[in-house]
Point group: C2
Chain length 358, copies 2
């Protein structure tokens, strides 16, 4: 039997609840498939701040690096909102991504037939949406230097950041995106602002260079403002989208809301080698934390991505995905995806129902 | 009778068609209200490139600066898409904004009861949306230096831009936004990415400082990724939004698509003094240019904004707005907003119908 070490990072808010449920599901699927897991649970974000005074303790990063895959719940909360930058929970997440060198963030946005009415978009617009945003995660304006506060040549106070991409950073995310598109419907849309920004012109140039390696993938380019519109107008036109860190942050959240079921959406962050980072795309939802109301399905589906992309355990991954669909088909719903005629359950009960179907 | 000089910039694609129609409407409304206009028509964008070799000839900027208000059609087209940066039509528009120092871009997104079904959002979500995006237009990453191409310390090729805001730039757009909110429902939401970017932390700090001057306006802050989601989830929660140049570009386009009638939406760009720049938010639509299919209402409503915000001619502005509503109530629709049971008309006929109601 195969053995893998998994780092669990429950984090803040609803993080611990959804991680505990996802761990049970992961366990069951693994044991059926003859996989053995060793877990190590370490603090990150606000939880780490409270315990150790920093949002990413060295031990946490080390544990994560030395494991085979990392499953994160959520980070952040009102309590730490006013903290200085280096003491923000978010800074812990950014340092974790940087430390694990997970430059490729895969964010699927799929409208399940069972949940099409959860979208604020009309049924005929939402039905059948199935897109993947490939977001560059360790470069661009999130990490670019110089950055900070200062004064300009007129002595005026300023705040500034640098949007910068090197060729190798674009090339490697481009390859992940082309490979992803190839496994999907073979269509890749690169989103930039090349009519204004040099960083985007360079981005487009490199994307076009890498495209030569993938003649079977149909490549198009779109400006980010237009992409934000097209996601609302006709999201079905998209298969795979590749874009930079900040545009990917904005567009993947927009795309996820278009599905209407943000409590359902997982994500995977991958590097060249080393462990991947898997997390639901929803936040820590401090308003419902500890009330057994959270939807654990996004974390359960993140565990499925962990099995598939992180460990190459396709069968166990499919088992979990099927169990989630089965549970939805039986009518079980947490509050965020509830509609008349379905069965309202809490976080734990949803987990138990999924376990029955694994 | 009052006299004003108006600079008309038809630009590219459908620009000339919609400007010609809007000019007739402007004329009629003005003459009824006892206002006299002198027009000067000058080239910008691709049209200027073809005529003079540059996208913003000096004469065009000078004419615009010396007039009382500027009405622009649209710029850009496939023909110039591959041009180098300084020879792009878009560069002409950016230089025009910079030259006129119009730092405040007002972009209303309103769902008219007559057109609620044009939105891809469900009726109950779209109905009653009435928000205003106040976008900073002459700063941030669009204009920040250093910018360009080069190599990093490892000799790798890079492309880079600088997101930078000085206190005075934030303060002045904040004041425009607070004043705008005050005249609307008194709610202002400032959108930034202050959990990651120093430029955004500084933005938030200045917004909060200026807020002290407007205790009657209810201020909130939202991260840009969340704002992109909330616009899809529940656009009615917003009254006035203030944000930087690039986030404003993305969010205002998203908001406009949420209304479903992007062919209806005007915009105003204003400076401290000097002429304002008024333009529809739609693009040059090269695919339908010259076919009498364009919707002229966004440009007609931009002319109304020109009267109101640019010249202080409230009565003439209201006359035009009422005429547009009247024309919609009579059932006239261009192709982009057509639905069964309404009367399909072209650009010119739509203009003639509006004239009947002025
Ligand atoms: C919490 C924040 C730093 C983060 C980001 O901006 O990347 C989040 O919005 C996300 O998308 O994972
Ligand atoms: C054409 C382009 C330069 C422009 C911008 O990005 O500002 C446009 O998208 C707009 O929003 O007016």
């Amino acid at each position: 039997s195969k053995r893998h070490t998994i780092t669990l990072l429950p984090g803040d808010g609803i993080g611990p609840e959804v991680i505990s449920v996802a761990r049970n599901v992961l366990n069951l699927a693994a044991s059926i498939e003859g996989i053995e897991f060793k877990y190590q649970e370490v603090p990150v974000g606000g939880a780490a701040l409270d315990l150790t005074g920093v949002p990413l303790p060295e031990e946490t990063l080390l544990a994560a690096k030395q494991s085979d895959a990392v499953l994160l719940g959520a980070i952040g909360g009102y309590k730490w909102d006013k903290n200085e930058k280096h003491l923000k929970p978010e800074t812990g997440l950014l340092k974790l991504r940087e430390g694990l060198k997970v430059f490729a963030n895969l964010r699927p946005a799929t409208v399940l037939p069972q949940l099409v009415d959860a979208s604020t978009l009309k049924r005929e617009v939402a039905e059948g949406v199935d897109l993947m945003v490939v977001r560059e995660l360790t470069g661009g304006i999130y990490f670019g230097k110089p950055r900070g506060f200062g004064t300009n040549e007129n002595g005026e106070e300023i705040g500034f950041n640098t949007e910068v991409y090197a060729a190798y950073e674009i090339d490697r995310i481009a390859r992940v995106a082309f490979e992803t598109a190839r496994k999907r419907k073979g269509k890749l849309c690169s989103v930039d602002k090349a009519n204004v920004l040099e960083a985007s012109m360079f981005w487009r140039k490199r994307i076009m260079a890498i495209a030569l390696e993938y003649p079977d993938v149909e490549l198009s380019h779109m400006y980010v403002d237009n992409a934000a519109m097209q996601l609302v107008r006709d999201p079905k036109q998209f298969d795979t989208i590749v874009t930079n860190n900040i545009f990917g942050d904005i567009l993947s959240d927009e795309a996820s809301m278009i599905t209407g079921s943000i409590g359902m959406l997982p994500s995977a962050s991958l590097g060249e080698s080393g462990p991947g980072l898997f997390e639901p795309i929803h936040g820590s939802a401090p308003d419902i934390a500890g009330q057994d109301k959270a939807n654990p399905l996004a974390t359960i589906l993140s565990a499925a991505m962990l099995l598939k992309y992180g460990l190459g355990e396709e069968n166990a991954a499919k088992r979990i995905e099927a169990a989630v669909l089965d549970t939805l088909n039986k009518g079980f719903r947490t509050g965020d995806i509830y509609s008349a005629g379905t069965k309202l359950v809490g976080c734990k009960e949803m987990g138990e129902e999924v376990l029955k179907s694994v």
